[in-house]
Protein backbone atom coordinates (compact mmCIF):
# COMPACT_ATOMS: atom_id res chain seq x y z
CA UNK A 1 0.00 0.00 0.00
CA UNK A 2 1.31 3.41 -0.89
CA UNK A 3 2.20 5.74 1.99
CA UNK A 4 -0.40 8.24 0.93
CA UNK A 5 -3.11 5.64 1.36
CA UNK A 6 -2.65 5.77 5.12
CA UNK A 7 -3.94 9.31 4.92
CA UNK A 8 -6.73 8.91 2.38
CA UNK A 9 -8.15 5.53 3.26
CA UNK A 10 -9.70 6.45 6.62
CA UNK A 11 -11.45 9.47 5.12
CA UNK A 12 -14.15 7.52 3.24
CA UNK A 13 -13.23 3.91 2.64
CA UNK A 14 -12.36 3.07 6.24
CA UNK A 15 -14.12 5.98 7.92
CA UNK A 16 -13.90 5.67 11.73
CA UNK A 17 -17.57 6.57 12.20
CA UNK A 18 -19.09 5.35 8.96
CA UNK A 19 -17.28 2.04 8.65
CA UNK A 20 -15.68 1.26 11.99
CA UNK A 21 -18.72 2.77 13.79
CA UNK A 22 -16.56 4.29 16.54
CA UNK A 23 -16.90 7.59 18.40
CA UNK A 24 -20.68 7.72 18.02
CA UNK A 25 -21.32 9.21 21.45
CA UNK A 26 -19.74 12.55 20.62
CA UNK A 27 -21.02 12.39 17.05
CA UNK A 28 -24.58 12.33 18.36
CA UNK A 29 -24.08 14.90 21.07
CA UNK A 30 -22.27 17.78 19.45
CA UNK A 31 -23.75 17.84 15.94
CA UNK A 32 -26.72 20.07 16.70
CA UNK A 33 -25.04 23.02 15.07
CA UNK A 34 -22.02 23.45 12.87
CA UNK A 35 -19.74 25.70 14.91
CA UNK A 36 -19.32 23.41 17.94
CA UNK A 37 -18.87 20.49 15.55
CA UNK A 38 -16.02 22.32 13.83
CA UNK A 39 -14.32 22.99 17.16
CA UNK A 40 -14.86 19.39 18.26
CA UNK A 41 -13.44 18.10 14.97
CA UNK A 42 -10.35 20.26 15.40
CA UNK A 43 -9.95 19.05 18.98
CA UNK A 44 -10.18 15.39 17.95
CA UNK A 45 -7.66 15.89 15.12
CA UNK A 46 -5.23 17.56 17.54
CA UNK A 47 -5.54 14.91 20.24
CA UNK A 48 -5.40 12.05 17.77
CA UNK A 49 -2.34 13.41 15.99
CA UNK A 50 -0.50 14.10 19.23
CA UNK A 51 -1.27 10.76 20.86
CA UNK A 52 -0.60 8.70 17.74
CA UNK A 53 2.78 10.30 17.09
CA UNK A 54 3.91 10.20 20.72
CA UNK A 55 2.81 6.60 21.23
CA UNK A 56 4.47 5.61 17.96
CA UNK A 57 7.71 7.26 19.11
CA UNK A 58 7.53 5.38 22.41
CA UNK A 59 6.43 2.08 20.90
CA UNK A 60 9.74 0.33 21.62
CA UNK A 61 9.99 1.76 25.13
CA UNK A 62 6.48 1.21 26.48
CA UNK A 63 6.48 -1.74 28.89
CA UNK A 64 3.75 -4.06 27.64
CA UNK A 65 2.43 -4.75 31.14
CA UNK A 66 1.38 -1.15 31.74
CA UNK A 67 1.06 -0.15 28.10
CA UNK A 68 -2.62 0.80 28.21
CA UNK A 69 -2.32 2.93 31.34
CA UNK A 70 0.54 4.91 29.87
CA UNK A 71 -1.29 5.35 26.58
CA UNK A 72 -4.29 6.68 28.49
CA UNK A 73 -2.03 9.05 30.44
CA UNK A 74 -0.67 10.50 27.22
CA UNK A 75 -4.12 10.78 25.66
CA UNK A 76 -5.63 12.32 28.79
CA UNK A 77 -2.86 14.93 28.99
CA UNK A 78 -3.45 15.89 25.38
CA UNK A 79 -7.17 16.14 26.05
CA UNK A 80 -6.72 18.38 29.11
CA UNK A 81 -4.43 20.72 27.20
CA UNK A 82 -6.93 20.83 24.31
CA UNK A 83 -9.86 21.40 26.67
CA UNK A 84 -8.09 24.26 28.44
CA UNK A 85 -7.18 25.79 25.09
CA UNK A 86 -10.78 25.68 23.92
CA UNK A 87 -11.95 27.17 27.22
CA UNK A 88 -9.52 30.01 26.63
CA UNK A 89 -10.06 30.82 22.98
CA UNK A 90 -13.76 29.92 22.66
CA UNK A 91 -15.42 29.96 26.10
CA UNK A 92 -18.92 30.08 24.67
CA UNK A 93 -18.35 26.96 22.57
CA UNK A 94 -16.82 25.15 25.52
CA UNK A 95 -20.15 25.71 27.28
CA UNK A 96 -21.95 23.89 24.46
CA UNK A 97 -19.36 21.14 24.17
CA UNK A 98 -19.32 20.81 27.98
CA UNK A 99 -18.01 17.38 28.93
CA UNK A 100 -17.59 16.12 25.40
CA UNK A 101 -14.12 17.55 24.94
CA UNK A 102 -13.07 15.85 28.17
CA UNK A 103 -14.71 12.68 26.93
CA UNK A 104 -12.38 12.56 23.93
CA UNK A 105 -10.27 10.55 26.40
CA UNK A 106 -12.74 7.72 26.07
CA UNK A 107 -13.33 8.20 22.36
CA UNK A 108 -12.71 4.75 20.89
CA UNK A 109 -11.10 6.24 17.80
CA UNK A 110 -8.16 7.63 19.77
CA UNK A 111 -7.24 4.51 21.72
CA UNK A 112 -8.20 2.40 18.73
CA UNK A 113 -5.65 4.12 16.51
CA UNK A 114 -3.01 4.08 19.26
CA UNK A 115 -3.41 0.37 19.94
CA UNK A 116 -4.23 -0.73 16.43
CA UNK A 117 -1.80 1.39 14.47
CA UNK A 118 0.72 3.56 16.32
CA UNK A 119 2.19 0.68 18.33
CA UNK A 120 3.13 -1.12 15.13
CA UNK A 121 4.12 1.68 12.78
CA UNK A 122 6.70 4.44 12.60
CA UNK A 123 5.85 8.03 13.58
CA UNK A 124 5.52 9.22 9.98
CA UNK A 125 2.88 6.65 9.08
CA UNK A 126 1.19 7.16 12.47
CA UNK A 127 0.96 10.88 11.75
CA UNK A 128 -0.67 10.24 8.38
CA UNK A 129 -3.02 7.69 9.92
CA UNK A 130 -4.00 10.08 12.71
CA UNK A 131 -4.69 12.96 10.34
CA UNK A 132 -6.62 10.64 8.02
CA UNK A 133 -8.78 9.28 10.79
CA UNK A 134 -9.25 12.74 12.27
CA UNK A 135 -10.44 14.06 8.92
CA UNK A 136 -12.66 11.00 8.51
CA UNK A 137 -14.30 11.74 11.85
CA UNK A 138 -14.53 15.45 11.04
CA UNK A 139 -16.08 14.96 7.60
CA UNK A 140 -18.93 12.92 9.02
CA UNK A 141 -19.73 15.07 12.04
CA UNK A 142 -19.50 18.23 9.93
CA UNK A 143 -21.93 16.76 7.40
CA UNK A 144 -24.33 15.66 10.13
CA UNK A 145 -24.06 19.02 11.89
CA UNK A 146 -24.66 20.89 8.63
CA UNK A 147 -27.81 18.92 7.94
CA UNK A 148 -29.07 19.25 11.50
CA UNK A 149 -28.45 22.98 11.78
CA UNK A 150 -29.74 23.76 8.29
CA UNK A 151 -33.01 21.84 8.58
CA UNK A 152 -33.39 22.22 12.33
CA UNK A 153 -32.97 25.97 12.52
CA UNK A 154 -32.52 27.21 8.98
CA UNK A 155 -29.10 28.60 9.81
CA UNK A 156 -25.46 27.74 9.16
CA UNK A 157 -22.83 28.91 11.65
CA UNK A 158 -25.57 31.12 13.05
CA UNK A 159 -26.20 32.88 9.72
CA UNK A 160 -29.78 32.66 8.47
CA UNK A 161 -29.98 30.60 5.27
CA UNK A 162 -33.67 29.73 5.17
CA UNK A 163 -35.99 32.47 6.37
CA UNK A 164 -38.32 30.90 8.96
CA UNK A 165 -42.09 31.12 8.47
CA UNK A 166 -42.36 33.14 11.69
CA UNK A 167 -40.45 35.92 9.90
CA UNK A 168 -42.49 35.70 6.72
CA UNK A 169 -40.37 33.10 4.95
CA UNK A 170 -41.27 29.63 3.80
CA UNK A 171 -39.10 27.55 6.12
CA UNK A 172 -40.64 25.54 8.93
CA UNK A 173 -38.13 24.50 11.56
CA UNK A 174 -37.75 20.77 11.96
CA UNK A 175 -37.75 20.23 15.72
CA UNK A 176 -36.68 16.63 15.32
CA UNK A 177 -33.31 17.78 14.00
CA UNK A 178 -32.61 19.41 17.35
CA UNK A 179 -32.85 16.05 19.10
CA UNK A 180 -29.76 13.81 19.33
CA UNK A 181 -31.78 10.91 17.93
CA UNK A 182 -31.95 12.63 14.54
CA UNK A 183 -28.18 12.20 14.32
CA UNK A 184 -28.73 8.45 14.57
CA UNK A 185 -30.85 8.45 11.43
CA UNK A 186 -28.54 10.77 9.51
CA UNK A 187 -25.50 8.75 10.54
CA UNK A 188 -27.36 5.59 9.58
CA UNK A 189 -27.90 6.92 6.08
CA UNK A 190 -24.21 7.81 5.79
CA UNK A 191 -23.14 4.37 7.02
CA UNK A 192 -25.45 2.82 4.45
CA UNK A 193 -24.19 4.97 1.58
CA UNK A 194 -20.53 4.38 2.46
CA UNK A 195 -21.05 0.66 2.76
CA UNK A 196 -22.97 0.48 -0.47
CA UNK A 197 -20.19 2.31 -2.31
CA UNK A 198 -17.32 0.32 -0.80
CA UNK A 199 -18.52 -3.12 -1.70
CA UNK A 200 -15.45 -4.99 -0.42
CA UNK A 201 -16.48 -4.29 3.17
CA UNK A 202 -15.65 -6.93 5.73
CA UNK A 203 -16.52 -6.99 9.40
CA UNK A 204 -13.43 -7.45 11.46
Amino acid sequence: MKTFHYLTKPIIENNPIGVQVLGLCSALAITQSLYPALIMATAVICVLTFSNVVISLLRHVLPSSIRLILEMTIIASAVIVTDETIKTIAPDVSQILSVFVGLIVTNCIILGRAEGFALMHNPKLSLLDAIGNGIGYSVLIILVATIRELFGRGTLLGEIIFIPSSDGGWFLENKFMALPSSAFFILGIFVWVINAKTSNRTYD
Partner: protein, 260 residues
Protein backbone atom coordinates in the same frame (compact mmCIF):
# COMPACT_ATOMS: atom_id res chain seq x y z
CA UNK B 1 11.13 -9.62 27.34
CA UNK B 2 14.02 -7.43 28.34
CA UNK B 3 12.13 -4.17 28.36
CA UNK B 4 9.68 -5.50 30.92
CA UNK B 5 12.18 -5.56 33.78
CA UNK B 6 10.80 -3.89 36.88
CA UNK B 7 13.34 -1.09 36.88
CA UNK B 8 12.70 -0.15 33.31
CA UNK B 9 8.94 -0.37 33.72
CA UNK B 10 9.05 1.99 36.67
CA UNK B 11 11.47 4.32 34.94
CA UNK B 12 9.36 4.58 31.79
CA UNK B 13 6.17 5.02 33.80
CA UNK B 14 7.66 7.77 35.95
CA UNK B 15 9.19 9.60 32.99
CA UNK B 16 5.97 9.58 31.01
CA UNK B 17 3.89 10.66 33.98
CA UNK B 18 6.36 13.43 34.78
CA UNK B 19 6.38 14.79 31.25
CA UNK B 20 2.60 14.58 31.02
CA UNK B 21 2.08 16.34 34.34
CA UNK B 22 4.47 19.11 33.30
CA UNK B 23 2.52 19.47 30.06
CA UNK B 24 -0.80 19.74 31.86
CA UNK B 25 0.40 22.09 34.60
CA UNK B 26 2.16 24.23 32.04
CA UNK B 27 -0.96 24.59 29.95
CA UNK B 28 -3.17 25.30 32.93
CA UNK B 29 -0.82 27.85 34.51
CA UNK B 30 -0.46 29.57 31.19
CA UNK B 31 -4.14 29.64 30.26
CA UNK B 32 -5.93 30.09 33.61
CA UNK B 33 -5.15 33.82 33.95
CA UNK B 34 -6.62 34.43 30.50
CA UNK B 35 -9.69 32.41 31.43
CA UNK B 36 -10.09 34.31 34.70
CA UNK B 37 -10.02 37.52 32.73
CA UNK B 38 -12.87 36.17 30.64
CA UNK B 39 -14.92 35.18 33.65
CA UNK B 40 -15.21 38.79 34.71
CA UNK B 41 -16.18 40.00 31.26
CA UNK B 42 -19.39 41.75 32.24
CA UNK B 43 -17.69 43.77 34.91
CA UNK B 44 -14.73 44.58 32.71
CA UNK B 45 -17.03 45.38 29.84
CA UNK B 46 -18.78 47.99 31.97
CA UNK B 47 -15.45 49.46 32.97
CA UNK B 48 -14.42 49.69 29.33
CA UNK B 49 -17.76 51.26 28.45
CA UNK B 50 -17.52 53.92 31.11
CA UNK B 51 -13.94 54.67 30.09
CA UNK B 52 -15.20 55.13 26.54
CA UNK B 53 -13.13 52.35 25.01
CA UNK B 54 -16.20 50.50 23.78
CA UNK B 55 -19.68 51.72 23.01
CA UNK B 56 -22.48 51.04 25.44
CA UNK B 57 -24.86 48.17 24.72
CA UNK B 58 -22.33 46.30 22.60
CA UNK B 59 -22.50 42.58 23.20
CA UNK B 60 -19.38 40.65 23.98
CA UNK B 61 -19.09 38.98 20.62
CA UNK B 62 -15.59 39.64 19.52
CA UNK B 63 -13.94 37.65 22.24
CA UNK B 64 -10.37 38.01 21.02
CA UNK B 65 -10.70 41.73 20.77
CA UNK B 66 -12.13 41.81 24.30
CA UNK B 67 -9.27 39.85 25.80
CA UNK B 68 -6.93 42.41 24.34
CA UNK B 69 -8.99 45.24 25.79
CA UNK B 70 -9.26 43.56 29.19
CA UNK B 71 -5.50 43.55 29.40
CA UNK B 72 -5.60 47.33 29.37
CA UNK B 73 -7.40 47.32 32.71
CA UNK B 74 -5.15 47.44 35.73
CA UNK B 75 -6.77 46.76 39.09
CA UNK B 76 -5.61 48.24 42.37
CA UNK B 77 -7.23 47.82 45.74
CA UNK B 78 -7.66 50.99 47.73
CA UNK B 79 -7.96 51.26 51.49
CA UNK B 80 -10.62 53.93 51.90
CA UNK B 81 -9.50 55.00 55.39
CA UNK B 82 -5.83 55.51 54.65
CA UNK B 83 -6.31 56.37 50.96
CA UNK B 84 -3.42 54.11 50.09
CA UNK B 85 -3.06 51.00 48.01
CA UNK B 86 -3.26 47.59 49.53
CA UNK B 87 -1.12 44.98 47.88
CA UNK B 88 -3.14 41.82 48.13
CA UNK B 89 -2.08 38.73 46.30
CA UNK B 90 -5.31 38.32 44.39
CA UNK B 91 -6.60 41.69 43.28
CA UNK B 92 -8.15 40.00 40.26
CA UNK B 93 -10.36 37.99 42.52
CA UNK B 94 -11.43 40.81 44.85
CA UNK B 95 -15.13 41.30 44.41
CA UNK B 96 -16.27 44.41 46.24
CA UNK B 97 -19.93 43.53 45.69
CA UNK B 98 -19.26 40.33 47.59
CA UNK B 99 -17.38 42.13 50.36
CA UNK B 100 -20.34 44.45 51.02
CA UNK B 101 -22.28 41.64 52.62
CA UNK B 102 -19.46 40.67 54.96
CA UNK B 103 -19.42 42.45 58.36
CA UNK B 104 -15.65 42.17 58.77
CA UNK B 105 -14.96 44.05 55.57
CA UNK B 106 -17.31 46.97 56.24
CA UNK B 107 -17.63 49.64 58.91
CA UNK B 108 -20.91 51.18 60.11
CA UNK B 109 -21.63 54.76 59.06
CA UNK B 110 -23.21 57.41 61.25
CA UNK B 111 -26.48 58.87 60.00
CA UNK B 112 -24.95 62.25 59.23
CA UNK B 113 -22.06 60.80 57.24
CA UNK B 114 -24.21 58.36 55.34
CA UNK B 115 -25.12 60.55 52.37
CA UNK B 116 -25.50 57.63 50.00
CA UNK B 117 -27.77 55.77 52.41
CA UNK B 118 -25.63 52.65 52.38
CA UNK B 119 -25.45 52.15 56.18
CA UNK B 120 -22.11 50.37 56.07
CA UNK B 121 -19.05 51.49 54.23
CA UNK B 122 -16.58 49.01 52.71
CA UNK B 123 -13.02 49.18 53.98
CA UNK B 124 -11.59 48.45 50.58
CA UNK B 125 -12.64 49.30 47.07
CA UNK B 126 -11.14 48.24 43.76
CA UNK B 127 -10.06 50.99 41.43
CA UNK B 128 -9.35 50.44 37.78
CA UNK B 129 -6.75 52.12 35.65
CA UNK B 130 -7.78 51.85 32.03
CA UNK B 131 -4.86 52.25 29.66
CA UNK B 132 -5.43 53.10 26.06
CA UNK B 133 -3.13 53.55 23.12
CA UNK B 134 -4.85 56.75 22.01
CA UNK B 135 -5.19 58.67 25.25
CA UNK B 136 -3.83 58.93 28.77
CA UNK B 137 -4.95 56.36 31.30
CA UNK B 138 -8.32 56.99 32.88
CA UNK B 139 -9.30 55.94 36.34
CA UNK B 140 -12.58 54.12 36.86
CA UNK B 141 -14.14 54.05 40.32
CA UNK B 142 -17.09 51.96 41.48
CA UNK B 143 -19.85 53.93 43.16
CA UNK B 144 -23.19 52.99 44.66
CA UNK B 145 -25.96 54.37 46.79
CA UNK B 146 -29.68 54.49 47.37
CA UNK B 147 -31.93 55.92 44.67
CA UNK B 148 -35.64 56.29 45.22
CA UNK B 149 -36.40 52.63 45.82
CA UNK B 150 -33.32 50.68 45.10
CA UNK B 151 -29.57 50.54 45.39
CA UNK B 152 -27.93 52.08 42.34
CA UNK B 153 -24.60 50.64 41.28
CA UNK B 154 -22.37 52.31 38.78
CA UNK B 155 -18.94 53.22 37.58
CA UNK B 156 -17.48 56.64 37.03
CA UNK B 157 -14.46 57.34 34.88
CA UNK B 158 -12.23 60.31 35.52
CA UNK B 159 -9.70 61.93 33.24
CA UNK B 160 -6.06 62.18 34.23
CA UNK B 161 -6.66 65.43 36.15
CA UNK B 162 -8.67 63.32 38.65
CA UNK B 163 -11.46 65.86 38.41
CA UNK B 164 -13.06 65.86 34.96
CA UNK B 165 -15.70 63.19 34.41
CA UNK B 166 -14.92 61.07 31.36
CA UNK B 167 -18.01 58.94 31.65
CA UNK B 168 -20.54 57.51 34.01
CA UNK B 169 -22.56 54.33 33.79
CA UNK B 170 -25.16 53.13 36.26
CA UNK B 171 -25.40 49.50 35.37
CA UNK B 172 -27.77 48.35 38.06
CA UNK B 173 -30.88 49.94 39.58
CA UNK B 174 -34.49 49.07 40.23
CA UNK B 175 -36.04 52.51 40.42
CA UNK B 176 -39.28 53.35 38.64
CA UNK B 177 -39.19 51.99 35.08
CA UNK B 178 -39.45 54.71 32.48
CA UNK B 179 -38.66 57.48 34.99
CA UNK B 180 -35.87 56.75 37.47
CA UNK B 181 -34.65 54.15 35.03
CA UNK B 182 -33.61 56.95 32.70
CA UNK B 183 -30.38 57.38 34.67
CA UNK B 184 -29.18 54.33 32.75
CA UNK B 185 -29.84 55.95 29.39
CA UNK B 186 -26.83 57.08 27.46
CA UNK B 187 -28.59 60.41 26.75
CA UNK B 188 -28.26 61.29 30.37
CA UNK B 189 -24.90 59.75 31.12
CA UNK B 190 -23.26 61.47 28.15
CA UNK B 191 -24.39 64.81 29.60
CA UNK B 192 -21.97 64.11 32.46
CA UNK B 193 -18.94 64.04 30.20
CA UNK B 194 -16.57 66.96 30.72
CA UNK B 195 -18.19 68.03 33.99
CA UNK B 196 -15.87 68.64 36.92
CA UNK B 197 -16.33 67.25 40.42
CA UNK B 198 -14.30 69.79 42.37
CA UNK B 199 -14.00 73.55 41.94
CA UNK B 200 -10.72 75.50 41.90
CA UNK B 201 -10.57 75.49 45.70
CA UNK B 202 -10.93 71.74 45.87
CA UNK B 203 -14.52 71.80 47.12
CA UNK B 204 -16.96 69.24 45.84
CA UNK B 205 -19.13 71.33 43.55
CA UNK B 206 -21.08 68.96 41.32
CA UNK B 207 -24.81 69.81 41.51
CA UNK B 208 -28.07 69.37 39.71
CA UNK B 209 -28.91 72.23 37.40
CA UNK B 210 -32.24 73.42 38.77
CA UNK B 211 -32.93 76.36 36.51
CA UNK B 212 -33.06 75.61 32.83
CA UNK B 213 -32.28 79.15 31.75
CA UNK B 214 -28.97 79.56 33.52
CA UNK B 215 -25.84 79.09 31.49
CA UNK B 216 -24.45 75.62 31.87
CA UNK B 217 -21.66 75.44 34.35
CA UNK B 218 -19.03 72.77 34.37
CA UNK B 219 -20.30 71.70 37.78
CA UNK B 220 -23.96 71.32 36.88
CA UNK B 221 -25.82 68.35 35.54
CA UNK B 222 -29.32 68.48 34.13
CA UNK B 223 -31.96 66.68 36.14
CA UNK B 224 -34.49 64.25 34.73
CA UNK B 225 -38.11 65.36 34.72
CA UNK B 226 -40.14 63.23 37.08
CA UNK B 227 -37.12 61.43 38.45
CA UNK B 228 -36.11 64.01 41.02
CA UNK B 229 -35.70 61.55 43.86
CA UNK B 230 -33.62 59.13 41.83
CA UNK B 231 -31.41 61.93 40.53
CA UNK B 232 -31.05 63.30 44.04
CA UNK B 233 -29.98 59.84 45.13
CA UNK B 234 -27.37 59.84 42.37
CA UNK B 235 -26.04 63.25 43.40
CA UNK B 236 -25.99 62.17 47.04
CA UNK B 237 -24.00 59.08 46.25
CA UNK B 238 -21.59 61.17 44.18
CA UNK B 239 -21.19 63.49 47.14
CA UNK B 240 -20.61 60.53 49.42
CA UNK B 241 -18.08 58.77 47.22
CA UNK B 242 -16.19 61.93 46.34
CA UNK B 243 -16.37 63.37 49.85
CA UNK B 244 -14.30 62.66 52.93
CA UNK B 245 -15.75 59.17 53.34
CA UNK B 246 -14.96 58.17 49.79
CA UNK B 247 -12.24 58.74 47.26
CA UNK B 248 -11.55 62.40 48.02
CA UNK B 249 -8.30 62.06 49.91
CA UNK B 250 -7.04 59.49 47.43
CA UNK B 251 -7.87 61.75 44.50
CA UNK B 252 -6.27 64.82 46.06
CA UNK B 253 -3.14 62.76 46.73
CA UNK B 254 -3.12 61.79 43.08
CA UNK B 255 -3.60 65.41 42.02
CA UNK B 256 -0.73 66.54 44.23
CA UNK B 257 1.55 63.93 42.76
CA UNK B 258 0.60 65.23 39.30
CA UNK B 259 1.52 68.78 40.20
CA UNK B 260 4.57 67.90 42.14
Amino acid sequence: MKRDSLGKTLFVAFSIVLVCSLLVTGAVTLLRPIQAAQKAPQNFQRILQVAGLIKQDVEIDKQENMVELFQQIEISILDLNTASYITPSASNKFDYRQSLSEPQSTTPLSKSADLANIERKPKQMPIYWVHSSTSKAKIVLPIYGKGMWSMIHGYIALERDFNTIAGVYFYEQADTPGIGELIQQSDWSTSWQGKKLYDANGNLALQINKSKSSSKSTHQIDGITGATKTVNGVINLIHFWFGEQGYRSFLSKQRESLEG
